[in-house]
């Protein structure tokens, strides 16, 4: 469903990604793991259209999108939940969710989408009139994911959904991701918590220094020597549930 090949991405004159290639099949959950600053977020931003690659291609269901503006990709069925959530803090939960259905094709169905999102995150229905900036971290993450879901994406990109959240909330979020995937949404996930991500995903890519250094089935990576020492031993958060 998603295929990118040989992406080179720069920030100004600084190269951040070298020849990154990855693929996500329909219905999968794929994880991107790696150290801080490796380029995982850069990949996500490039896929979503906040950055444009100097070289390389991105194809969504066969259609080339690397030159398309970000909003066009949302219309085509791709949605990113960015790192740090990036909610519209002065607007209410409902307004944030409604804005998620901004693309024309999603607007007509927004009632149904809203019910779907409320079904996944019941607390949002309760708090729909609350200003988003006043919610707790976990609730904000729910709004962020819900907002992305409002556009009925076929491919959902999640950048560090567990960042800064208490472990029990993280578990809920991961359950939700599993649930959404079960309903037919393909997921590409960037996660610090490598263990949880690899347990959730079917395949994984290891990103280091702006390059893809490893790529395998998730369970293979869980037992891989390098991955274990680099990301699963010291990488697992203290007190994090396996």
């Amino acid at each position: 469903m998603l295929e990118c090949s040989d992406l080179d991405v720069y920030y100004g004159d600084l190269q951040a990604l070298w020849g990154v290639s990855l693929a996500v099949q329909r219905g999968e959950i794929v994880a991107l793991i790696g150290p801080n600053g490796a380029g995982k977020t850069t990949i996500m931003r490039t896929l979503a259209g906040l950055l444009f690659p100097a070289r390389g291609t991105i194809a969504l269901d066969g259609r080339r999108v690397e030159r398309e503006a970000g909003y066009r990709r949302v219309e085509l069925g791709l949605a990113l939940v960015p790192e740090g959530r990036r909610l519209f803090g002065t607007m209410t939960v409902l307004e944030n969710l409604e804005l998620g259905a901004y693309p024309a094709r999603a607007r007509g169905e927004r009632r149904a989408a809203l019910d779907w999102v409320y079904g996944i995150f019941p607390i949002l229905r309760e708090r729909r009139g609350q200003v988003a900036g006043t919610l707790s971290g976990g609730q904000q993450q729910m709004v962020a994911i819900g907002r992305a879901l409002m556009s009925r994406p076929r491919l959902l990109l999640l950048d560090e959904p567990s960042l800064g959240l208490a472990p029990v909330i993280v578990e809920q979020i991961f359950d939700v991701i599993r649930q959404i995937n079960g309903e037919g949404v393909t997921v590409l996930l960037v996660e610090q918590n490598a263990r949880a991500a690899l347990r959730l995903a079917s395949r994984g890519y290891v990103i280091e220094n702006g390059r893809v250094v490893q790529h395998d089935r998730a369970d293979a990576l869980l037992h891989d020597e390098h991955v274990r020492t680099a990301y699963l031993g010291a990488g697992a958060p203290a007190g994090g549930r396996p």
Partner: protein, 293 residues
């Protein structure tokens, strides 16, 4: 100084303050969304004023009716200006964008003002509708009909703007873009189109304000700078983020000016606003009603 005269003065302050608020609303919208300060805003207001003046002088169209023409025409002019000038700046980072937009807007103000002088001479023009002199009296206060009507129109427009920004998808998209343009892109908002609409809308609002200014006072090519400054003062005073806050800021400025005239005379009317503006900048840069950045 009788109480009556005092109240009369303050009421006039409110009436003119409504125009300040309306003039500021357009500037605030553009600044809030695009982070661009259009210092030619006053010249756009001037254009709107001339538009309604000529519609009245040549075709006898009542100024309050001509709003329906002036608004859309200025909207189109805004589209043209944005596409021609300001849209080219949007890809820069904030510092560069602000600097360049200040310069370009300044150049635009210069050009517009001098085009107006050449086209229509530097004389002041006013609109003398049939009801121009009519005054109604309420609780010992004289209320000129035209000024009251202007207040009503200003309130209506502000209300309409508020509804647009809070009830429509396009409007909410504008607010979202103002808050976080990257997040706005991620939910599928076309940022470039949002900027275009915001700028054109800001221009249209300036035009409407210009019509009301011409009805109540006069228009000449030189009023651009003073109205740009007034709008700036109100924007700084009120802060960004609230349409009603901006309008209220305008009214406050109008009342402050009126009060100052009572005590230090009319010549320094503008100075009051500008001094207030510098004070607010120093003490509370986000304005009275604005969000802390």
């Amino acid at each position: 100084m009788t109480l009556d005269a005092f109240v009369q003065s303050l009421v006039f302050g409110v009436l003119v303050g409504a125009l300040y608020g309306l003039a500021a609303a357009g500037l605030s919208l553009v600044f809030g969304v695009m982070k661009v300060l259009n210092v030619a805003h006053g010249e756009l207001l001037m254009l709107g004023g001339y538009g309604s003046f000529w519609l009245f002088s040549l075709y006898g169209i009542d100024p309050f009716v001509s709003l329906l023409i002036v608004g859309p025409v200025l909207f189109v002019i805004g589209v043209a200006l944005h596409l021609g000038l300001f849209s080219r700046l949007m890809r820069f980072d904030e510092e560069t964008k602000i600097n360049n937009s200040l310069l370009i807007a300044f150049g635009l103000a210069l050009v517009l003002q001098n085009l107006a002088i050449r086209a229509w001479s530097a004389d002041e023009r006013g609109i003398n509708a049939a009801y121009a002199g009519a005054v109604t009296r309420l609780l010992a206060v004289n209320l000129p009909i035209t000024r009251v009507l202007s207040l009503a129109v200003a309130l209506l427009v502000i209300l309409g703007l508020h509804l647009f920004l809070t009830r429509t998808y396009l409007g909410k998209g504008i607010r979202a873009t103002a808050e976080d343009w990257q997040a706005a892109t991620l939910v599928g908002i076309d940022i470039r189109r949002t900027y275009l609409v915001a700028f054109a809308l800001g221009t249209a609002l300036a035009g409407v304000a210009g019509t009301l200014v011409t009805v109540g006072y006069a228009v000449s090519p030189g009023i651009g700078l003073e109205w740009t400054l007034r709008a700036l003062v109100v924007v700084v005073l009120a802060g960004l983020g609230s349409v009603f806050g901006t309008f209220l800021g305008g009214v406050l400025l109008g009342v402050a000016e009126a009060a100052s005239v009572l005590f230090i005379g009319g010549a320094y009317r503008e100075v009051v606003g500008l001094v207030l503006f510098v004070l607010v900048l120093l003490v509370r840069p986000q304005g009275l009603f604005g969000r802390s950045r």
